[in-house]
Symmetry: C2
Subunit: 215 residues, 2 copies
């Protein structure tokens, strides 16, 4: 089919992006589009349920900084005292194998990636309302009231720049949000410019067979 | 949601566009996007199974020409000795009611519509191969060998300009072609620029609720 694509899905924390992305990836895999959810590097300590190499690549600050020095990150940012980054090699390596890559990163990081890979597709996932986002953050149970307030204020700042994203999905009903994300991925793969190599083949074959058939 | 959109789906005859469009419309209606399949005007005689107002609006040449004179067509063209046209009022009337409109028209007509309504989304449906298209034309049974040859040559000419369309779908497996068309329609509705009015509302409400909640 077409070449592999890179999708960024950003959302305020509590926006439910991981569930939406993983469900969409499963449906795309079924349709014959292999997908990879990129695992970030971070300097923060693993939470009890987190596995190295699965949830994050956990590295110390020295290692992270030398990776920065070698230009190994497509994007990186400091958040709540820890560094987070996306490995250039992991993303481009998968894409070279024809695998779509999904990045779950902040708005700032998304802009850095756009500079490095202009063809990236950026999707912003909105919570349906303030109450809904606050409710989800409280429900998670791992955040203090102060941390929840910080996250809500951070969400507001993200919304103000999310208009630069290509697409916007409101995560009101999970099944619809997943269907829309799958739809966006399928649509982007079927843009005429991206389909050109496939279509050129179909056209050339058609012309040839028509000529043989008519004469 | 977002404003209604206009979708053109073009395909060589035998490409199977009617089935794909009608199945996609049913799924979009289920998702809460009302859809209308535009009925063309034509001067050709109805076939035995065709109903006036359902398959086409059947009009005589005099009536068609005075509609042309009054600028009532978004696009029209002559094909195999008969005139075919798309009523501007039918399309814009439905869109004003928030209903997406699907047009099943030729490549030339698509370009005329693009001039009148630049925001139109154009999708070209390719047959998977020469053999497949020829087979479908023969299978229909209503075409002479000479008519089939003409249609195949016409298809080739259409392919050569279809690269200007926004999207390309290869109609290999019906279910996949339908899913892709649904995906394209969902994606187009969720472009950030089209979602702006909805997003502005969400943002404003968020800012307001955050202010009330924090103070």
């Amino acid at each position: 089919m077409t070449e592999a694509l890179l999708f960024i899905v950003s959302s305020p924390s509590g926006g439910g992006k991981t569930t939406v992305i993983k469900s969409a990836m499963a449906r795309l895999e079924n349709r014959g589009f292999p997908c990879h959810f990129s695992v970030s590097h971070t300097t923060r300590s693993p939470r009890p349920t987190e596995l190295d190499g699965v949830d994050y690549h956990f590295v110390d600050r020295g290692e992270f900084e030398s990776m920065v020095g070698r230009g190994e990150f497509l994007e990186y940012a400091e958040y709540a005292g820890s560094l987070y980054g996306t490995s250039r090699r992991e993303v481009l390596g998968k894409m070279d194998q024809g695998i779509d890559v999904f990045l779950d990163i902040e708005v700032q990081g998304a802009n850095q990636v756009k500079t490095a890979i202009p063809d990236v597709v950026k999707v912003f996932l909105y919570p349906p309302s303030y109450e809904e986002l606050k409710g989800r953050l409280i429900h998670r149970g791992q955040n203090s009231p102060e941390a929840i307030r910080r996250r809500l204020m951070w969400a507001e700042r993200e919304f103000s720049v999310a208009g630069e994203f290509d697409y916007a999905i409101i995560n009101d009903r999970l099944d619809e949000a997943v269907e829309t994300l799958v739809g966006i991925c399928l649509a982007e793969h079927h843009r005429s410019d991206r389909m050109k190599p496939v279509l050129d083949g179909i056209r050339q074959d058609f012309v040839l067979r028509l000529k043989e058939d008519v004469t």
